[in-house]
Symmetry: C2
């Protein structure tokens, strides 16, 4: 019987707790706060914040490819730690004040401590991955996992640099955007699915299918996120109010709107995105113009395209559909979620 999502989430959280143990140092308090295990005063909070998407995709890919999920839990934890290091730094870079309806780490402890806490989380991701050895994974397999993870991290940094640059540009094309999210988001999700599959099998064909599966899923995932960033319900997404618009993020709907609006709408949207900043009272104007341009429909279509490409990879890999079922369920959840 394949393991389901809830069971795996519990296992990953337990693994994470083993890695970020309670050393009596400020930096660990900060990490525990960020993950949701502690409140501001350092009291146990108990509720993990994240959706644990990357570790669960890793474990479910491993399971689908015939591997042992318990053995590779450290790898799953590692992917979640990389994701969270990037969130701590992203929040500073975007000057985001809230995440999961709570003050962000830098907002509470200041930028210097927060930059450093992100670095600690990054390091813990590598230490987690090395724990695969305790579970009997071979040195060669661990090393290749470190390689896949590191290459994904580098892409993540490349994508993040592009994204910051895009904020100041008005001429970002759909092509620029797709290149950026391939690095910033899809690379780590592709690393998650391919490390999971790789630790289960030596079959290079399966490995490459799971990489392509993760890459396409990552593209769909980011586009979905961008749609929620404009049309999502704030209480659900846990993000600050329409922060993508305030930050002038060149997400797919905005690029589409800038390219496809006409007349007065085009003039207004160009003007808003040429200003040094967009004010809260202008958010509604931006959304109205995007609505008229058909930006949501366009983004949804492109998301569907990548989603179908991802599923096609799973179809092609020729693995027993029963073993793939929980993985497909998660994929379905990811593209239908409203948070």
């Amino acid at each position: 019987m394949p393991e389901n999502l809830a069971t795996l989430q519990d296992k990953v959280e337990y693994q994470l707790k083993r890695i970020i143990y309670s050393k009596p140092l400020l930096v660990y308090d900060m990490l525990q706060y960020h993950l949701g295990w502690q409140d501001i005063k350092g009291h146990p909070h108990g509720k993990y914040f994240g959706k644990l998407i990357r570790p669960c995709l890793c474990l479910l890919s491993c399971q689908a490819a015939g591997g042992n999920t318990s053995q590779i839990l450290p790898a799953a934890a590692s992917l979640e730690l990389i994701h969270n290091f990037s969130l701590i730094h992203d929040d500073i870079e975007d000057t985001s004040c809230e995440r999961h309806n709570q003050p962000t780490v830098w907002k509470l402890w200041g930028q210097p401590q927060a930059i450093n806490a992100g670095d600690a989380m990054f390091t813990l991701a590598y230490l987690a991955l090395l724990k695969l050895r305790e579970n009997g994974v071979s040195y060669a397999k661990i090393m290749r996992s470190v390689q896949i993870l590191s290459e994904a991290c580098l892409k993540l940094c490349e994508g993040q640099s592009m994204d910051i640059t895009h904020e100041k540009r008005i001429d970002v094309s759909s092509e620029d955007y797709l290149k950026m999210i391939a690095q910033k988001t899809a690379a780590l999700i592709a690393a998650s699915t391919s490390i999971g599959a790789y630790l289960a099998t030596e079959d290079e064909r399966i490995l490459s299918s799971f990489y392509e599966f993760g890459k396409n899923l990552g593209m769909a995932y980011q586009i979905h996120d961008d749609i929620l960033g404009i049309w999502g319900v704030e209480g659900k997404t846990g993000k600050s109010i329409k922060s993508d618009i305030l930050l002038k993020k060149k997400t797919l709907p905005v690029i589409y709107g800038l390219e496809n609006s006409t007349g007065k709408n085009k003039k207004n949207l160009d003007k808003l995105y040429s200003q040094s900043s967009i004010e809260e009272e202008d958010i509604i104007k931006v959304v109205e113009i995007l609505n008229k341009s058909g930006a949501m429909n366009h983004a949804q279509k492109l998301e569907q395209h990548y989603y179908q490409q991802a599923l096609a990879q799973l179809d092609a890999v020729g693995i027993d559909p029963f073993r793939q079922a929980p993985l497909r369920e998660v994929v379905h959840f990811l593209i239908s979620r409203d948070y």
Copy 2:
């Protein structure tokens, strides 16, 4: 004939250039600028900024322990990349505007891009280490090197967090300080010498001696740096004018001064370090009081103590003095340098 420092520095720089190749992306321009290979406009600059201390200690430790320095160049490069990732982030955390008499990365490209560039440098350090495989180093040895490096990085983050906290405290003790520099500085230098020795030999006794050697050398190195931070000649150190004092860094001389000054001097020093900030015109007052307290002499004595401890480890390890000679030369340079 053992290789000397200048030859090894050239080899490390060549290795670094192979790792940070010129991808046409902003983030790589930033890294090349930070290292000194490019000027602000992206033109070749040619002069590497750093002293390459950590990679050279790694290579010379390897040589002393009978290893092949050419084989382990990727590990040496990796240590230099970790050091430089921490410098890029430190400069943001300290709001330092200059390094090597040039604007710092965040000063030129802004904090968001600079945080991300540091993350990219961090990732490249891991990718560098994995290149040991191309030189025929075994998976097991590479994995243990990744482990030693990651543990040092975590200590570095722990120490950095303590250091930031110390800036706001007036009651930092010598013990707090020594604990902090053991993590922030000595851990990475100990990783450098022990990875070098480990890649040369399986002998756990030699390994542990080289770890202790690096740890003690790292302590002496940081105390020397702290002395230069107050009594160094600015043009030589390449740092902003007496920035340690402006930032209220609780370095060893300052802690000694706070603990050992008396009467009016004590009152004045306490007052200066209790203010929210120290102004440039007060720097001279601080230095005068420290001079009277005998803080320099105290720091020099402690530096000598750690230096002797480091050398004692080299004596005890029982390696042919001829093979150790270049390593001892570098150690001597480190504690007599004026920059």
